[in-house]
């Protein structure tokens, strides 16, 4: 160590010696060629998928507002478009609308009543109205349930061609068509003196066909009872031959006296309900 030199050496001076460490010139030639080949390889080699994803994220990060607005607009448009489509699918054609035109169903409407006298007066007018409806309504009636809805005779599969069917409407049409195909021979007579006579006149369906077409057939009740319950509901009942017979039968059963006898009045609190038993 040079003791005569007045310069005081510090640790910083020693470290700065490393600044002067330089590789020889030939090192840079090799460095250059290696770098060039690596650069070419980097250009040629396919980049991994996450590299592209990171670039997309960088773009998103750079323009968050316009991209967010565009995304919201697109989602809104898709939502509106989807809603329009689903609405067109669900809408039933007017001819397929299920109308509660059966007198029983109509009479089962709850109505507020102020007094018994009013109820009595209304009873006669309702009875008259129901008589009219019964005369005009197609008698495709499902048994004697008070909640039953009625399908007008105008409903047919052929009528609905060219219209958009909802899944419900499709199923409904198929069921009706099935009933048409499996129409049993209905009795010519409209009025029977007893249930036994009626049952005897009904030609029973073949059991296998019945099993296929009628969901109720899978239930347990005996064939006799089932035939009795289902006969009025069968579409064949609404056919041209059966139409007049059923109308006569309905008129007969809707006679004033019978209607009056079959009328039940229910009331609870300030509401009253009128029901008819057929």
């Amino acid at each position: 160590m040079n003791r005569d030199n007045p310069r005081k050496i510090t640790v910083e001076d020693l470290i700065r010696l490393k600044r002067a460490e330089r590789p020889p010139a030939e090192f840079w030639a090799q460095f250059e060629s290696e770098l060039r080949s690596k650069q070419l390889a980097a250009i040629v080699v396919k980049r991994p998928w996450w590299d592209g994803a990171s670039r997309v994220l960088a773009v998103l990060y750079r323009h968050p507002l316009p991209l967010g607005a565009a995304a919201a607009l697109a989602l809104t448009w898709i939502g509106v478009h989807q809603m329009g489509q689903s609405a067109s699918v669900v809408t039933l054609p007017a001819s397929m609308a299920v109308a509660p035109s059966h007198p029983v169903a109509l009479m089962a409407v709850q109505a507020p009543a102020s007094s018994i006298g009013e109820q009595q007066a209304r009873r006669s007018s309702v009875a008259a109205a129901s008589l009219e409806r019964a005369a005009t309504a197609t008698p495709v009636v499902a048994a004697d349930s008070p909640h039953v809805t009625q399908v007008p005779a105008s409903v047919s599969v052929a009528n609905n061609e060219g219209t958009v069917h909802s899944p419900f409407a499709e199923g409904f049409s198929v069921t009706l068509a099935d009933f048409h195909q499996t129409a049993p021979a209905m009795p010519e007579r409209a009025v029977f003196s007893s249930d036994r006579e009626f049952e005897a006149s009904v030609t029973p369906l073949s059991s296998s066909r019945l099993q296929e077409s009628d969901p109720l057939a899978r239930m347990d009740p005996s064939a006799e009872r089932r035939a009795r319950l289902l006969a009025p509901a069968l579409p064949a009942y609404a056919s041209s031959n059966a139409h007049s017979a059923s109308t006569t039968w309905t008129k007969e059963r809707a006679d004033n006296d019978r209607i009056y006898e079959s009328m039940d009045l229910y009331s609870s609190n300030d509401r009253s309900m009128v029901g008819f038993r057929f």
Binding site: M1, I9, V11, R16, A20, E21, Q30, F31, L35, Q39
Partner: protein
């Protein structure tokens, strides 16, 4: 130089650095526009400085060359993502330093040191060497070699983070703020690491420092 000027030097980016950053940004825009050859200008401008940093962190020439090349390749591949919020050299240094730190952490147990020759045409280096030795010829060369090895040992005894800060400040001459940007820590952390690292180096190189 008074204390405030020294503080300014470590914190404020100099006008030369600002001009340099603007020139770099213009070149980067050309590369981003598709002028790939313009990237060679940036390689030529920064390769020695980047290599110097990596070499002083690894103390190995081959590793330094590989890591420097990788840093340039990464910068080239990611040039489209460079926004110009930081200067190009800060961005490039960050890539190089992070690659080197990752390499050092992976190869913590492996250490093959190599020495580059000190160019004595640098006046500061010659002055320091002259002050430390009165020998000439072979004796001087041996002394310098020995000093280099001792310096390398001392640097390698520092932790990776401390070595990085010392390299960037004392060898490459970055300001505290620039080091904080490159390393990704606060200016206070940079100062703290620098102070601690110098204390350790002083203890290690005590025999070369006059009393």
């Amino acid at each position: 130089m008074n204390a405030s000027k020294a503080l300014e030097k470590t914190l404020v980016v100099s006008p030369e650095r600002k001009l340099e950053a603007d020139a770099d940004l213009a070149i980067v825009r050309r590369v981003q526009a598709g002028d790939v050859a313009a990237f060679d200008v940036l390689i030529g401008k920064y390769r020695e400085r980047v290599l110097g940093i990596v070499y002083n962190m690894t103390s190995n020439r081959e590793d330094a060359a590989d890591l420097t090349q990788d840093a340039f390749i990464k910068a080239f591949q990611s040039i489209q993502r460079f926004q110009g919020q930081a200067s190009f050299f800060t961005w490039l240094y960050r890539i190089a330093v992070n690659s080197t730190l990752s390499h050092l952490r992976k190869n913590r147990l492996r250490s093959f040191f190599s020495l580059e020759s000190i160019r004595e045409e640098d006046p500061v280096s010659r002055e320091v060497i002259d002050a430390l030795t009165d020998k000439s010829g072979a004796g001087r060369d041996t002394f310098v070699r020995e000093l280099q090895e001792k310096l390398n040992d001392a640097m390698q005894k520092l932790s990776i983070n401390h070595r990085t800060v010392v390299t960037l400040f004392e060898i490459d001459g970055l300001s505290h703020q620039e080091i904080a940007d490159v390393v990704g820590c606060s200016v206070g952390t940079v100062r703290s690491r620098l102070h601690y690292a110098k204390q350790l180096l002083q203890a290690e190189l005590q025999s070369y420092l006059p009393k």
